[in-house]
Amino acid sequence: MIILGSNSEVAQSFVEKVLEAGGKYSTIFLFTSNKETTEKFAKHIDVKYFQHSEIIELDLMKEIDYTKFDDITSDLLFCATGYLGEGTEEGLYDNKNTEKIIDINYAKLVPVLNFFAEKMERQRSGNMIVLSSVAGDRGRQSNFIYGSAKAGLTAYLSGLRNYLFDKKVHVMTVKPGFMETKMTEGLPLNPKLTATPKQAAESIYKAYKSQKNVAYVLPIWSIIMLIIKNIPEFIFKKLKL
């Protein structure tokens, strides 16, 4: 199993879910931009599940040396990298903020996903599970830089799924909606629309087992986004969303 964004609480919960369900891997490759925190997780799964893992430093904001990843292959990739950054009010005209959001959520991530997609294409099997966002379903004034980067990612994943279909590789797009994580702590999120990392992992695992193409973590989000997507533009542009 390959994990991109290993410090994500959803990614960690997903790994635990797979292991609890009896999944066994000779090694789990934990890609992370923060080795120190990931080390705690590596020890944790060793104690709890006898699971060996390897930590690999990957910072999307730095030059990536792909030769280091040559020997890494797996049937399952889970990608939870993401960067919320500042929203419109605080950060729209801050180019550093804007670039970082676009880079981590889309521009610098796609080549990495391509790298592993190619390996799976060659081995003619595999599952890629990638977290995108409901924010990518339609650009809204509150966080449309993030939203547009995720929209790009969603479109990329849709194309990749299409391309890899007859190569026996499955790509699943996950749109989590609100989540109770470090990234969102202290934000006034409606608890009915918010999933804990553990709930999210359960839901994603189920969707993965039934080979869904696009999965919302909480079903209610598919309805909310259906409505949001279908509001006519001349009305939508006046809304404060």
Partner: protein, 438 residues
């Protein structure tokens, strides 16, 4: 959207409810920053203390300190972060033939909470408190330093933190010993006692059992006062088990656990329904004595089988009242307490009686000392304050004291027994309440 960390927070008794800042971090630097920039901080694990012990102006939730660190399977020593729950530990260690030396009546408490409360269980008379098996822990103190505390290193802090209710700092991780078991089952005997004399005699007779505890019907009066069921147990050996269980003696089947879906309306729990419950419970066991083998979950954690059981007490919440009274005056004290409760009409179900063994004098902040302890649940209502005052007076008269982990309104002379915990950094609402009452 600017983050706002103020939220409604309450512990297991749903009383009191306060609006305070709650923060949770997993990086040491950020935890240090939080400690540096605030005063009146208290750590909070899974919120399973009953009252205001883990509430303060700034609450540090250990929910993200939830990782295992190491497990020495040969010697039965485990190390984990302080937010790991006992239930997580059991899941890992029971299949390997290990168990917790000391566990309270719920497995949903954090390791940090277990140390800060120095929890006890049904085996206190035989095996003492949780701290007996703690090898070391790391503590973030009021100066923002991380100290390794053990009997040898920083031993002063080690002992003040044990039972110190989080007032000495934030426990970050801990290492402790586990007990060997052959099976996940308990050989249990349950024996009915008709009155206080019988149950006290049973406690004396059951001293050689590792685990013993009694459920007591506290609404009985007159000659029936103290009607109870003694439950005593030992970890079962493999050869003792019925053949069917011998195949996989360390694995329990996953059981369905129902959830209480909403707060019960206030009228549901009244004296009559509690009486009825107690009657049914007592008569469920037909014969005087039953011997059987039950899994550890049923023996240690019967209430954990129902998720959110605290909601049956309604939105106004409930308190748990637990005191200890010195052994020599135990019977007289208990009789007075039970009479007072029966008269008050504030019925408690799930009253639990136990005989504590000798205390460890080094663990000076620990609650238990040799004597009888009784734990009762009371719904919060207009009559409660009066009842607590009456009970407090009896406990004081008999030289007893109150368990801080359960306390939310007792008299401060019964709760002001912690030493070497004063500092402005780590303060709980409970501690402030106790100090200000003096």
């Amino acid at each position: 959207m600017k983050p706002n960390f103020t939220q409604k927070v309450t512990n297991w008794g749903n009383f009191p409810v306060v609006e305070k800042e709650v923060k949770s971090e997993d990086s040491l630097q950020k935890i240090k920053d939080f400690v540096k920039s605030n005063n009146e901080i208290i750590a909070r694990g899974n919120g399973r203390c009953y009252g205001d012990a883990s509430l303060s102006e700034h609450i540090f939730s250990t929910k993200r300190l939830n990782k295992f660190i190491s497990f020495d399977r040969l010697n039965g020593i485990i190390e984990c972060e302080s937010g790991v729950l006992l239930s997580d530990i059991l899941e890992v260690v029971v299949p390997q033939g290990y168990f917790l030396y000391v566990t309270p009546g719920t497995k949903f408490i954090s390791v940090g909470g277990a140390i800060a409360s120095d929890v006890h269980g049904k085996n206190h008379h035989a095996e003492g408190c949780f701290s007996e098996y703690v090898i070391e822990f790391s503590l973030l103190n009021e100066n923002g330093e991380v100290l390794t505390c053990s009997r040898e290193e920083n031993s002063e802090k080690f002992w003040s933190t044990i039972g110190g209710m989080g007032l000495t700092g934030i426990i970050l991780s801990a290492k402790f010993k586990l007990k060997n078991i052959e099976t996940a089952y308990i050989r249990q005997e349950s024996i009915k006692a008709e009155n206080l004399d019988e149950i006290f005699k049973l406690f004396e007779e059951s001293e050689s059992w590792t685990y013993n505890v009694a459920w007591i019907d506290c609404l009985q009066t007159g000659k029936n006062i103290g009607r109870s069921i003694m439950m005593r147990g030992e970890h079962a050996f493999k050869h003792q088990l019925p053949k069917k269980l011998q195949e996989n003696p360390l694995r329990l089947k996953k059981k369905f656990s129902p959830t209480v879906p909403f707060y019960f309306p206030n009228f549901v729990l009244n004296n009559l329904t509690v009486k009825l419950f107690n009657l049914l419970y007592f008569n469920k066991q037909r014969s005087k004595e039953i011997k059987n083998y039950i899994d550890y979950e049923t023996f240690f954690y019967p209430l954990d089988a129902v998720n959110d059981w605290n909601k049956i007490y309604g939105k106004t919440g409930f308190i748990q009242y637990q005191m200890v009274i010195p052994k020599e005056k135990g019977k007289e004290g208990m009789k007075r307490i039970l009479e007072t409760i029966a008269k008050s009409g504030n019925g408690s179900f799930l009253a639990v009686l136990k005989l504590f063994g000798k205390n460890n004098p080094e663990a000076y902040n620990s609650f238990p000392f040799e004597g009888y302890t009784l734990a009762l649940d009371f719904k919060v209502n207009s009559k409660l304050k009066n009842l607590v005052e009456k009970l407090d007076a009896i406990v004081e008269e008999f030289g007893g004291r109150i368990y801080l982990t359960k306390d939310s309104m007792s008299k401060s002379s019964l709760t002001n027994y912690l030493q070497n915990v004063q500092n402005p950094k780590f303060v709980s609402l409970q501690h402030k309440r106790i100090i200000n009452n003096n």
